[in-house]
């Protein structure tokens, strides 16, 4: 197990694996996402209460899922950075923080646009919406802090600590709708329980969620590869790789 762990820490090994997986992640992600969204937009039945505005769920829920998953994975990488000083973990955090920012923004935006026709307001300061806004600021803070510190090692540690401090926000987001009175309803899409919607609504949602996860995998690969190139440009293997045309 430890051998595998150290292998994962090798940028060269990761670069090769990522290059091999990327076409599959891209093709699978685009396919599933296109299928899920087309199904959800045009073929899923309308909701008895909200009519067609509920179709926003097919992008709102996947975005919100990713926004939180990305942060959790960043926190795991932060522990690895702090404890094992593994360079690749820091590369990972740096590479995906902007992706997390975009998906957090998307879940807030789609939620606001969905709130207007259903709740009657764009925004309300309830616990779910506010904790999600805090997540957006955390992503912004991580990106800003990383750019503010020039020294690579200090930046890695400072960012890791900030990420870990922010991770307490994640259970707050998840359980806010159960712990407090909120305008936001409890979770629809739960992996552990029976879905609260019929199959013809749940399946397109599942496809969109899976598709977006695969696309995120692809984004992670390409962005980490870029970061590795920048950091390892003085090594021989990068030199040989670049001169061979990146293959």
């Amino acid at each position: 197990m430890w051998q595998w762990f150290h292998k994962l820490g090798s940028p060269k090994w990761f670069f090769g694996i990522a290059t091999r997986f990327m076409p599959w992640l891209l093709a699978g992600g685009l396919l599933l996402l296109a299928a899920g969204l087309t199904w959800g937009l045009a073929f899923a039945p309308e909701d008895y209460l909200q009519g067609n505005s509920y179709r926003i769920i097919f992008i709102h829920v996947p975005s919100a899922f990713l926004a939180q998953s990305i942060y959790i994975s960043m926190a795991v990488a932060a522990v690895v950075t702090l404890v094992w000083r593994m360079k690749l973990a820091d590369v990972f955090v740096k590479a995906i923080a902007p992706v997390g920012l975009v998906f957090t923004f998307l879940s807030l935006f789609t939620g606001a646009v969905w709130g207007k026709p259903t709740w009657g307001t764009w925004w309300v300061w309830d616990a779910r919406l506010t904790s999600m806004l805090i997540l957006l600021f955390l992503y912004g803070g991580v990106i800003a802090l990383d750019r503010a510190i020039n020294d690579e090692k200090s930046a890695a540690r400072a960012v890791a600590v900030l990420v870990l401090v922010g991770v307490v926000n994640i259970p707050i987001i998840k359980y806010s709708v159960d712990w407090w009175n909120t305008l936001h309803q409890p979770a629809t899409f739960k992996l552990t329980e029976k879905p609260t919607m019929p199959m013809e609504m749940w399946l397109p949602l599942l496809l969109s969620v899976l598709g977006l996860y695969l696309l995120f995998g692809w984004l992670t690969c390409i962005r980490m590869k870029t970061e590795i190139l920048i950091r390892e440009q003085r090594t021989r293997w990068v030199r040989e790789l670049v001169m061979a045309g990146g293959k």
């Binding site: 039945p45 008895y48 509920y54 522990v79 259903t118 009657g120 616990a127 600590v161 401090v165 009175n181």
Partner: protein, 159 residues
């Protein structure tokens, strides 16, 4: 594991645990401020200040909505199935406003125990279904005993 790494891991775990406890205690202490609205039970128990802007939320009681024919004034009762509060509101209601649906209203309690709302938001639950399914469910539930029905509604309600 290397002893230095073990030490670092311990520090990291203590950091996160300490932080979680701190945040947990803070949010617990502030729980009334984090709650978006007061329940009808809390209002009935007199936990709510009079003439202070607050939010109140619950289900619109079946058969309680009275619309003024000459204006946009609406009167209705909001319930959490153990207490209910009369509300009045002048203005356009959200599309999802209906008897048996959740609402969150912003406004003040007057001296007579009525809630004067200046904004009404609709709250819906996490159940989604096609219209035909909803109709079928409604038809099925009409045949059942009323009390059992209300109990079921109270359980599934996410007002």
């Amino acid at each position: 594991m290397h002893p230095i790494r073990k030490k670092r891991l311990t520090i990291v775990l203590f950091l996160v645990a300490g932080l979680a406890i701190a945040v947990g205690l803070t949010t617990y202490a502030l729980r009334q401020n984090i709650n978006l609205f007061y329940d009808p039970s809390q209002i009935a128990a007199g936990e709510v200040p009079v003439d202070v802007r607050i939010r109140a939320g619950g289900m619109v009681e079946e058969g309680s909505v009275v619309r003024d024919p000459d204006s946009l004034k609406v009167e209705f009762r909001v319930t959490d199935f153990s207490a209910s509060v009369p509300m009045e509101y002048v203005g356009i209601l959200p599309d999802l406003f209906a008897e048996g649906q959740g609402v969150v209203a912003m406004g003040r309690m007057d001296a007579n125990g009525r809630f004067i709302a200046d904004q009404v938001l609709a709250k819906h639950d996490e159940q989604y279904m096609p219209p035909e399914v909803a109709e079928a469910l409604e038809r099925a539930s009409k045949g059942q005993h009323k009390a059992a029905d209300a109990e079921k509604a109270a359980e599934s309600a996410a007002y």
